[in-house]
């Protein structure tokens, strides 16, 4: 993404990067953080601090730009690095690893991290790589934690793109 930002949006973007995103250690966590500022219903980004300093529109555009940049970086990560980042994120969540992996494989919450405007191949690569990273992490779990390990340990098939609901086989 090589968009030319206007001065106000550029300032807002620099501020976002230096004050907020720089404190988040991994690119996957940065992506999840940025995506969490987006309204699911409207697709509009909200950030109180940034909006009060630069205006809601400039703040929204700056976050949208940061989202696209961060998403691109994460989608193009080598699979090994993405797996490491996902494992760190899972540990940081303090959730039971098996429960975390099951939830991510079933509900596919990572799909909300995809920007609205994105290259189709990049979005598919991201989803595919997360699926693979989850499968690798599940494979690495000690057998004691994987009591109900079956072929289903690998991710279930993707839900029908026409259906608004995830599959639950």
């Amino acid at each position: 993404m090589h968009r030319v930002l206007n001065a106000e949006v550029q300032h807002a973007y620099d501020d976002l990067c230096s004050r907020t995103l720089a404190r988040i250690p991994s690119s996957l966590e940065r992506l999840i953080h940025i995506a969490s500022t987006r309204d699911y219903n409207s697709g509009v980004y909200h950030h109180e601090g940034l909006a009060s300093a630069f205006g809601a529109e400039a703040a929204g555009q700056a976050i949208e730009y940061a989202h696209a940049e961060t998403f691109r970086a994460v989608a193009l990560l080598p699979l090994q690095q993405l797996t490491d980042e996902l494992e760190k994120y899972m540990r940081a969540s303090r959730e039971n690893p098996l429960a975390f992996l099951k939830a991510w494989q079933r509900l596919e919450p990572y799909r909300v991290a995809i920007p609205m405007r994105v290259e189709a191949t990049l979005a598919e690569l991201f989803v595919s790589n997360i699926k693979l990273a989850l499968a690798v992490l599940r494979h690495r779990l000690p057998p004691a934690q994987e009591q109900d390990r079956q072929p289903g340990a690998l991710p279930p098939p993707s839900p029908d793109p026409q259906s608004p609901l995830p599959s639950h086989n």
């Binding site: 193009l76 699979l79 405007r117 595919s128």
Partner: protein, 176 residues
């Protein structure tokens, strides 16, 4: 002599079987397409090779192989194959759309040059053929085993763009 005919028949049958398999794979993949390219990113998608390079990346295949788990390996092969076939399918659709637009514009053009139109048609045919060959190779072997094919795929991507540019410039000349 009969042995030659039998060999030719077997070869033709084999080629037909491989072709049908590739077509079948393509259909299954298209049925699962999840992300449609934005209108303004259609050519951008083909012009940016970074995602394509990752689909064919050797280090990802080596990482999964090091896990020594057949299920993981199978999942990896399946995911990469689907990604690559979707990519090829998009390029094919772009080429068809570009050609359709050009044909529509050419019908109303008064000063068509036979030589340049033939050249464009030849380029289109070559790209389509390369696309089909790519799809066949990917369906048969998977992209992670075909690092050399990555260069061919990149040439298809840049070919689609130059085809688009050539046809746009022809239309520009025609309407001027």
């Amino acid at each position: 002599m009969p042995a030659l005919f039998i060999a030719i028949a077997v070869s033709l049958f084999l080629i037909l079987a491989l072709f049908l398999r590739a077509v079948g794979d393509g259909r299954r993949v298209r049925a699962g397409v999840q992300f449609e390219a934005e209108d303004d990113s259609v050519l951008a998608d083909s012009a940016r090779p970074a995602a394509l390079q990752r689909i064919f990346a050797r280090d990802d295949a080596e990482f999964v192989a090091a896990c020594r788990n057949p299920e993981l390996l199978e999942l990896f092969a399946q995911e990469r194959k689907e990604l690559a076939l979707r990519w090829v399918s998009r390029r094919r659709q772009q080429m068809i759309a570009i050609m359709r637009d050009h044909m529509r514009a050419a019908r109303s053009s008064a000063d068509l040059e036979l030589s340049s139109e033939t050249s464009l048609l030849f380029t289109y045919g070559r790209l389509r053929l390369t696309c089909e060959a790519l799809a066949l190779c990917i369906a048969l072997f998977g992209p992670h085993r075909l690092h050399a094919v990555a260069a061919q795929a990149k040439s298809v991507a840049s070919g689609v763009r130059s085809l688009h540019d050539s046809m746009a410039s022809r239309r520009g000349l025609g309407s001027a």
